[in-house]
């Protein structure tokens, strides 16, 4: 599980994330929603450690990782699917997935990954950079899943993915949550996808949380209103 | 006290000179010995009372293997430091770059390297041999001793090897009645001689005549050996290997090949024994002395002789004294040298056969040869 307290992030002088506090227990999926430029990506980057946080604590299963390098955070169980894919373009698809297996010590790519993204199996030997946009996005998700994370961060994971696969991804995330002890945090713009996976929804605005709802209580119109201020 | 010339760095008890060699860059390899020898000579002169009662002070500059830097530093030594003489330069290119400065500022340069000739400046004393003094006797010697008729010429691609080869070819064809079966130049610093060696095999020359310089030399000899070409099968005569180069090449790779120089460290005469001893005392037991090093050592002594004859440090007077043809050094390690009015030295040519320990055995010594920087019939 993930505990974050008083997290602040700055780009140079300007503070973009203003002291966030939140806790996500095991087996919960938290969706973070917000308009463009409100700090979702920034928040994720600081959780995985590619952006330094200027203040605050990040605990994974009680272990403070806020001073650690990102590879150590991954070792402690975070996995990250960045916005904009960021796959390794000149590695083959298979090698791309294998980079995620350095941590989990898996020997072979699990079959269920290829079952979820059949296209990746077909294109195993192709260079990652030659895939189409949506294929790359699928690859990035696969790469994160093979690390066997305790906390999975997904920054707009459905961007550029075809509707049928979005549905599959939603099913898989729900499945994983049932099978493993996992915490999922996802930032999303597509409300339908969010509603399909999230247990709880938080709206972020200008680097602060302004609204929080459990899925059961979500009033879609209200959320929509928050998102279009 | 004798008159001092105005404008020079001369006080009542000191006189300042410059040393200008490459301490850095590719040429430092060759020039280190020269500047060591010059410092030794100056130290010895100072210990024996200096010149005209003055101790010599040295300002050293680094030419950095870069010709324009030689020009810049020459100007600095002459204009800023007003030195009475400069001992320096090694490559012809650096001399050519510095020469106009010496002529403009009326300085005096003692240049130690064997070189291509075709030059005679009022402001330079050439203490090394010009091409004819080095080349002709060597060729005569192999023609006679080894019965050589066919020659393969190989050198680095720049002016000194090319000019030397030009003279060699004329001599081989016109005087010795021999034949040049190949002539080859490799870029400076090149380390691949495989193809050339194959060509040489194909031509089967009686003599390989070589003027490869610097680091290339090492590759050249190691690869010759590796190709199975050694002194048992093949005569090789080079004009560009001295004890300095042997250090890098390794005596085992040169064994039995010949160099033609005017000086070898192994020369057995009292002058040289004393010189070698003093040099090693100053610069360490491991140090070796090559032809240019010895020629550089002559510089300060020749200057001392000329200054004392002129009674002044004034450049014009010193040059004039030098041009009278009667300045000689009986104490020269190479034996005996005399300064010719054309600013070059009378010297002997010697053929040395290299031994495994990196020393050469002198197998031939010529008569004293008159320097002739503009040789008739060889241009």
């Amino acid at each position: 599980m993930l505990e974050v307290s008083n997290l602040k992030v700055c780009y140079g002088q300007s503070e973009v994330i203003h002291g966030l506090d939140f806790v996500v227990p095991k087996n919960e999926t938290l969706a973070i929603m917000g308009r463009n430029g409100m700090g979702k990506t920034t928040l994720f980057k600081s959780l995985i450690g590619v952006l330094p946080s200027s203040d605050g604590r990040i605990l994974i299963d009680g272990i403070d990782v806020s001073k650690k390098e990102s590879f150590q955070r991954v070792e402690n169980g975070i996995a990250y699917v960045p916005q904009g894919r960021m796959i390794f373009p000149s590695l083959t698809v298979q090698e791309n997935i294998e980079t995620g297996m350095e941590v989990s010590k898996l020997k072979k790519i699990p079959d269920d990954i290829y079952a979820l993204f059949p296209v990746l199996a077909d294109m195993r030997k192709r260079k990652g950079g030659n895939l189409s946009g949506g294929q790359q996005q699928q690859l990035a998700i696969a790469r994160a899943l093979v690390t066997n994370p305790k906390v999975l961060l997904l920054d707009e994971p459905t961007e550029g993915i075809q509707p049928s696969i979005i549905k599959d991804i939603a099913n898989v995330l729900n499945e994983i949550k049932k099978l493993r002890d996992i915490t999922i945090i996802v930032s999303e713009q597509v409300l339908s996808f969010t509603m399909a996976i999230a247990d709880r929804i938080i709206v972020i605005d200008k680097g602060s949380f302004i609204h929080e709802d459990l899925r059961e209580d979500v009033d879609t119109d209200k959320i929509k209103a928050y998102l279009s201020v | 006290a004798p008159a001092t010339s105005t404008g020079q760095a001369v006080t009542d008890d000191t006189v300042t000179v410059g040393i200008l060699h490459s301490l850095t860059g590719t040429m430092a390899i060759s020039e280190t010995g020269a500047q060591e020898a010059e410092k030794l000579a100056i130290k010895q002169i100072n210990e024996s009372g200096g010149i005209l009662g003055r101790q010599i002070k040295i300002i050293q500059e680094d030419g950095a293997s870069d010709w324009p830097t030689f020009a810049e530093k020459s100007r600095k030594l002459l204009v800023n430091d007003k030195v009475a003489a400069v001992f320096g330069c090694w490559t012809s290119a650096s001399r050519k770059a510095a020469l106009p400065v010496f002529e403009k500022e009326n300085g005096l340069l003692y240049y130690p390297t064997f070189y291509e000739g075709l030059e005679q400046s009022k402001n330079v004393i050439y203490t090394g041999q010009e091409a004819t003094q080095q080349i002709l006797d060597g060729l005569n010697w192999v023609a006679k001793e080894k019965g050589a008729k066919t020659f393969y010429l190989i050198g680095s691609d720049y002016i000194w090897p090319r000019t030397s080869m030009k003279i060699a070819r004329k001599h081989i064809e016109n005087v010795l009645g021999g034949k040049v079966v190949g002539e080859e130049y490799k870029p400076l610093g090149d380390t691949q001689f495989g193809s050339v060696i194959n060509k040489i095999r194909l031509k089967k020359p009686d003599v390989i005549y070589a003027a490869v310089v610097g680091g290339s030399n090492v590759a050249w000899f190691k690869q010759l050996k590796a190709a199975g070409i050694n002194s048992k099968k093949q005569t090789l005569l080079t004009i560009s290997v001295t004890e300095d180069e042997v250090l890098g090449i390794g005596g085992e790779n040169l064994e039995g090949f010949y160099s033609i120089m005017k000086y070898f460290q192994s020369q057995d005469n009292p002058n040289n024994v004393a010189f070698v001893k003093a040099f090693k005392e100053m610069w360490g037991d491991d140090s070796v002395i090559g032809d240019v090093t010895q020629a550089a050592y002559l510089g300060p002594w020749l200057w001392k002789a000329a200054v004392e004859k002129a009674g002044t440090f004034d450049v014009d007077a010193v040059v004039k004294a030098s041009e009278e043809g009667d300045i000689e050094l009986t104490t020269a390690p190479e034996g005996y040298v005399k300064l010719h009015p054309n600013h070059h030295l009378w010297s002997k040519a010697r053929v040395g056969m290299w031994k495994k320990d990196g020393q050469a055995e002198v197998v031939y010594t010529s008569e004293l040869i008159e320097p002739d920087p503009f040789p008739e019939g060889y241009q």
């Binding site: - | 301490l23 500059e61 324009p68 100007r75 204009v79 050519k96 691609d157 000019t163 503009f374």
Partner: protein, 384 residues
């Protein structure tokens, strides 16, 4: 007025910087230095042409050339050929087997002046050649490479290879070029002794004016839309293409322009130093020119001049004081600048100059308070 001013000097800080540089090289140096040192500075300033050209080509254009020495050399050689012919009058060369041709040709058994040397009897042709030959040469290389979209490190290595080719050719064809010795012993220009102190001083000032003119011309390019396109190309070349620009043409132009200014530097070098040699065409000087630009701050035209001066002063001073160890100091200097001042000297000036302009702004604001609405979206001057 303000248009022209912006075009030529950039923002206010640019103008101040320019004036300080002009004052330094035109007044301070000539007053403070003796003729030997002034001539040295003059020599350094000829390298500054190449450094400035690299600011355009590399700093803004994003195209690193490791062969600016090629053009510096061609310019220098063109000038040297003219001066050498003048120095090789039949009277001066009477002792040669063929009087009237350069001495090195005579040593190489050449008996007739080669055809391509002939036009260099004319001074006006020589000036023309200094400017045009390198430009054409750059055009050929540039068109061949940029049209084929050779870029980045590939281009850098190719320029390096070309400079090796040229060096090998010059050294190998010594009968035509003077070989490794270069073309030496140049003494007069149309009968006027260029080795005299007065000639050197005059050349120094000509050199300074040319350098300042080149900086202004470069400023003009950089502040125009062309300059922004250069930056855009460095950032995302493909996008520029898809905005309708023929990217290759822009690169060719800036490469040619850079070649031309480097060549001016080369020609001024020959005039001030009195010889030209293949060691300027080679790789080491070419890399050093890049270092001058980098030390100055690769985005700053004026910084390039200071970078050149600093490194060369350093070289001279270190090597005079520590002839045996000065390379440690030079190496350390490069590393220190890269590590601690990633934006070079210009980075320092950014910080310091900031205070200076603020003060000026304050004074100016006392007099005029109005700020038009149009000002609000007026383009910010580029970063030099």
């Amino acid at each position: 007025m303000s248009f022209v001013y912006e075009k030529l000097f950039g923002d206010k800080k640019g103008l101040i910087g320019f004036c300080i540089l002009a004052a330094l090289i035109l007044v301070v140096f000539p007053v403070m230095l003796d003729s030997f040192r002034l001539n040295l500075v003059g020599k350094y300033l000829t390298y500054a042409f190449a450094a400035v050209s690299l600011v355009l080509l590399w700093g803004y254009g994003g195209t690193l050339s490791l062969g600016q020495g090629i053009f510096f050399g061609i310019g220098g050689y063109a000038m040297a050929m003219f001066l050498k012919l003048e120095a090789s009058s039949p009277e001066n060369t009477a002792i040669q087997s063929t009087p009237g041709i350069p001495d090195f040709m005579d040593w190489n058994q050449i008996t007739e002046l080669p055809l391509f040397w002939m036009p260099f009897h004319s001074f006006s042709f020589t000036l023309f050649a200094v400017l045009v030959v390198p430009t054409i040469f750059a055009y050929i290389i540039g068109a061949a490479m940029f049209k084929r979209r050779v870029g980045g490190v590939y281009f850098a290595i190719i320029t390096q290879v070309v400079s090796v080719i040229l060096t090998v050719l010059i050294v190998g064809q010594q009968g035509l070029t003077g070989g490794i010795n270069g073309i030496t012993d140049l003494r007069t220009l149309n009968g006027w002794d260029i080795t005299s102190d007065s000639a050197k001083t005059l050349f120094y000032f000509i050199n300074c004016f040319l350098l300042l003119a080149v900086i202004i011309a470069s400023r003009f390019i950089l502040t125009s839309k062309f300059g922004r396109i250069l930056l855009a190309m460095r950032d995302k070349e493909d996008r520029v293409r898809f905005s309708g620009y023929d990217v290759a043409n822009f690169k060719i132009f800036i490469f040619c322009f850079a070649a031309m200014i480097s060549a001016i530097g080369g020609a001024m070098f020959t005039l001030q130093v009195g010889f030209m040699s293949p060691s300027f065409v080679g790789i080491v000087p070419s890399i050093e020119m890049v270092i001058f630009a980098a030390i100055g701050g690769r985005m700053s035209l004026i910084g390039a001049v200071y970078g050149t001066l600093l490194i060369n002063f350093g070289k001279t001073a270190f090597s005079e004081s520590f002839p045996e160890l000065w390379l440690f100091l030079m190496g350390g200097l490069f590393i220190a600048v890269v590590m601690f001042f990633p934006n070079g000297l210009a980075g320092l000036w950014e910080d310091y100059g900031h205070h200076l302009t603020k003060r000026l702004d304050f004074i100016k604001n006392l007099f005029s308070k109005s700020k038009s609405a149009a000002d609000a979206i007026e383009l910010k001057g580029s970063k030099s």
